[in-house]
């Protein structure tokens, strides 16, 4: 069991690290699309790592099954949410930073919307 605990701890710590980096990115990145990227790190890889870490802590009973279901659900829904968010922004006419630089006019306005 000792090894399992260590592996699980490593997974959990890695999950926390990615979650934290996602949060930092959300604050530090310059525009909407890069921020979506940072945010999606937290609910994809970080969540997967944390739940896998927790999986190893269970004694393979009903709780394991529940965690697996949660994992599956997250793996389906969170990328979809990020995708929908980015696509809606694109659809609504929001430009990436590079595009905005070439098209200087009105860029300030849109950046404000992204905040």
């Amino acid at each position: 069991m000792f090894i399992l605990d260590i592996v699980s701890s490593i997974l959990l710590i890695a999950g926390v690290f990615f979650g934290f980096s996602g949060a930092v990115g959300l604050f530090k990145f310059p525009d909407f699309f890069t921020r979506v990227h940072a945010a999606s790190v937290t609910d994809s890889i970080a969540a997967i790592l944390v739940i896998s870490g927790l999986l190893l802590q269970t004694s393979f009973d009903l709780n394991t099954a529940k965690l697996v279901f949660i994992l599956l659900f997250l793996m389906i829904t969170s990328p979809t949410a990020s995708h929908a968010l980015a696509k809606s922004a694109r659809h609504g006419g929001l430009l990436t930073l590079a595009e905005a630089k070439t098209e200087n006019k009105g860029a300030d306005d849109k950046q404000e919307q992204a905040h």
Binding site: I76, T77, T80, H91
Partner: protein, 325 residues
């Protein structure tokens, strides 16, 4: 350890509340309220109130936030500068807060098993409800049997909310479905929604009928099922959803749920007991309690589902109306 988690969560709640006071961007305010709700749900879990946490997450953070966002879409997201002086409110709040702090000084200490709350009334729920009602989840036993009348009142409150929203907004059916509704371009969303929605409904049924044994019950199940339909409406458009569950049908369902609940009470009256006395429903009291609780939870679930969906219809048909204008 639990205290430490509690402290961190409380600090986060305080920060969130302060941000809500000072932010002018209402969209951010509403999202922060969603966060506030989720954080309080976490505190509820930490304080052993799993059923409450479940309800707060689905009702407080879910439905309330969705409705607030729907309202913002119609009213604009910027708060204008407040010209009122904030001195008087501050004074009122300070006095009220001081009164409450004064009141805390004689409170029984937090978490002490010898508190009056744990010595009177509650011990019977904890010690005898598994025998008297026969359910492991004491919250369900108290909610659906000992204090079933409260829960009936609560279902009626939900019903009254539906009456209020219908009277104020109404639900408009679009005859011409040419206006853009739903997210036609989003192929990925369509596919994922088709996969997820049936599972969400399945989960709602699980929550509905598993409520006797674990956290869950009619309220949470009703809200989750409504969420599945709301997702459908968002992705495939309101007209399609109206075709699946029409407003009239939902009105019937909402009424039916209340009547089902009250009906259980009437049956127990006919069988010679008091209103909502499930012991009389079957020859064996425990079996009677089981029948009663399952049926009233079903009534709760039906009403909550129908009402939440009706309220969503009312708000989103307003949004479509203003889009057309």
């Amino acid at each position: 350890m639990a205290e430490l988690i509690d402290l961190v969560l409380l600090a986060m709640l305080a920060l969130t509340a302060l941000r809500i006071i000072f932010l002018k961007d209402l969209f951010a305010v509403v999202m922060l309220f969603g966060i506030y709700s989720f954080l309080s749900a976490l505190i509820f879990i930490n304080l052993d109130a799993v059923d409450v946490a479940f309800t707060e997450a689905s009702v407080g953070a879910g439905i309330s936030t969705v409705l607030m966002l729907g309202t913002l879409a119609l009213t604009g997201r910027k708060e204008k500068k407040n010209s009122h002086s904030s001195l008087l409110p501050l004074l009122v709040v300070t006095v009220t807060g001081a009164a409450l702090i004064y009141g805390t000084l004689d409170m029984p200490p937090f978490g002490d098993p010898d508190n009056p709350v744990h010595q009177h009334v509650a011990p019977r729920y904890i010690e005898e409800s598994p025998q008297e009602i026969g359910l492991p989840n004491m919250v369900t036993s108290v909610l659906a049997s000992y204090r079933a009348f409260d829960t009936l009142g609560e279902v009626v409150v939900v019903f009254a909310a539906a009456i209020g929203v219908l009277a104020l907004l109404g639900i408009r059916r679009k005859k011409d479905s040419d206006l853009e509704s739903g997210l036609k371009e989003h192929k990925v969303l369509h596919v994922i929604a088709k996969i997820v929605i049936p599972h969400v409904i399945l989960f709602a049924l699980y929550v509905q009928f598993h409520g006797d044994f674990g956290p869950g019950g009619g309220f949470q199940a009703g809200v989750i099922a409504a969420a599945a339909f709301i997702l459908y409406a968002l992705v495939f458009g309101l007209p399609n959803t109206l075709a699946v569950a029409s407003p009239k049908f939902l009105q019937w369902m909402a009424s039916f749920g209340v009547l089902l609940y009250a009906g259980v009470g009437l049956v127990s009256m006919i069988k010679g007991g008091q209103f909502l006395d499930y012991n009389k429903l079957a020859a064996d009291p425990i079996a009677g309690q089981h029948y009663g609780i399952i049926i009233i939870e079903l009534g709760v679930g039906i009403t909550v589902f129908a009402v939440m969906l009706s309220i969503f219809y009312a708000f989103s048909s307003q949004a479509e109306r203003s889009n057309v204008q």
